[in-house]
Amino acid sequence: MSVLTQSLPYLAKGALDTVVMAALAIAIGSVLGLGLGLAAGSRSTVVRGAIDAFIFVTRGIPVLVIMFITYYAFPAVGYRVSSFAAVTVALTLYAAAFYTDVMRGALAAVPRGQLEAARSLGIARIPTVFHILLPQAMKSSIPPWLNTSIVIVKSTSYAAIVGAWELTYAAKEIVERTLATFEIFGAVMAAYFIICYPMSLLSRRLEKRAAIVH
């Protein structure tokens, strides 16, 4: 038990890095996903094709492989970045692919009558998207957005394999030193759960609310 209490500050520091990594990936990934999800409604087949390719390619690769790619890609083109940065970039791209599809789907799921009503009033495409379609799509995209975000939080643990320091890596270090496998990983389990559980709860609640509206 004393092993655990002694290790707690170190684990807490790791947890903080996990939260920062996840928050960056979720925040930047969401902005990218919103932009690309909107662009997926473009009339240009080139734009739509490029976005589809991004979604399918990125989702079709394990996030760990993307982390290795960014980890080696930056030095290969002459940039020295920390493993934390490389991993965060990978996670952001991975998140963006999922968020893009979430947003694209949510926009497509707005009933066709909404678009027709806006058109029949003579409202142009862009204001129709921003004032009519997007507010409705945002609402219905919150539960899948949260679910994706939970996956992103948990995916930060792969960073340990690439060598970026975060919760799982910190735990591995302590275990190697103390051999207190079960105590430490038990605490790590609890830490991930504490981060993710409120997100799950929120997602569940918003799902219920979204269901009532339409």
């Binding site: 009503a117 029949s120 009033l121 003579g122």
Partner: protein, 259 residues
């Protein structure tokens, strides 16, 4: 005197399925036309063509003298119009849908303000004044800040009418606007439409309300299989059906209503 709405030989098909097979009719300024027909007869499609929610492959539609959807070159070629021109046409043609299609995230008054603000760039305050006046006209002054989900179907449909009127259209199109309503809510919507007719609004109603059509419409068009089979003064068309198709339609209709 040119017609407010002039439809000439309009042909519309989805792939190989022809839903309008050369439809022509005129609606004069201030006139009310009612369209009846079975589902799949093309009656909703022609409305959707008039404000270009649907394109069409041949023929012309003019509203207020201006060609809708296509510019006609002197050599007879049809050139699709750009988005801006089409949007301008749509601003002049109000459309009310069977399923209301109110914007669920906006309040009643915001729904009505939407067109003037987003399509015409009107200041919100001015748009609100117009919206409040129109909502008073359709009897919904007490619902300004309600959300559509908290209104009855009849109230929602009246908001939808006010929303279309806020654009000050030259023409109003009603696409089976009472079909989704509970019977006891039909009257309040028809009353609003009747008032509009009395105010001299040019309108086309696609409807199953035969009594209302007989009462309010100046001309009645019977659509069947993508063609107009009979048209004329409602009384004549309803009391003296010429074709077997119309006779059968009216018979089925009265059976359904009185059984």
């Amino acid at each position: 005197m040119t017609a407010m709405i002039e439809v000439r030989n309009v042909v519309k098909s989805y792939g190989s399925l022809e839903v309008l097979k050369g439809v022509s009719f005129d609606v004069g300024q201030g006139e009310v036309a009612a369209i009846i027909g079975a589902s799949g007869s093309g009656k909703s499609t022609i409305l959707r063509c008039i404000n270009f929610l649907e394109n069409f492959q041949a023929g012309t539609i003019r509203v207020g003298g201006e060609s809708v959807g296509y510019d006609l070159r002197p050599d007879g070629a049809r050139v699709p119009q750009n988005d801006k021109t089409i949007a301008r046409h749509r601003q002049e043609v109000g459309m009310v849908f069977q399923s209301f299609n109110l914007f669920p995230h906006k309040t009643v008054v915001e729904n009505v303000m939407c067109g003037p603000v987003l399509a015409k760039g009107m200041a919100r305050q001015e748009a609100r004044t117009i919206a409040e006046a129109l909502l008073a006209k359709v009897g919904l002054s007490d619902k300004l800040d309600s959300l559509p989900a908290n209104l009855s179907g009849g109230q929602q449909q009246r908001v939808a009418i006010a929303r279309a009127l806020a654009m000050e259209p030259k023409v109003m199109l009603f696409d089976e606007v009472t079909s989704a309503l509970d019977p006891e809510l039909v009257g309040e919507v028809l009353r609003v439409i009747r008032n509009l007719a009395q105010d001299g609004m040019t309108m086309i109603l696609v409807t199953h309300e035969m009594h209302f059509a007989r009462d309010v419409a100046d001309q009645l068009l019977f659509f069947d299989g993508g063609r107009i089979l009979q048209q004329g003064v409602p009384r004549d068309v309803l009391d003296h059906p010429e074709s077997d198709r119309l006779k059968a339609f009216l018979r089925r209709f009265s059976e359904a209503n009185y059984l």
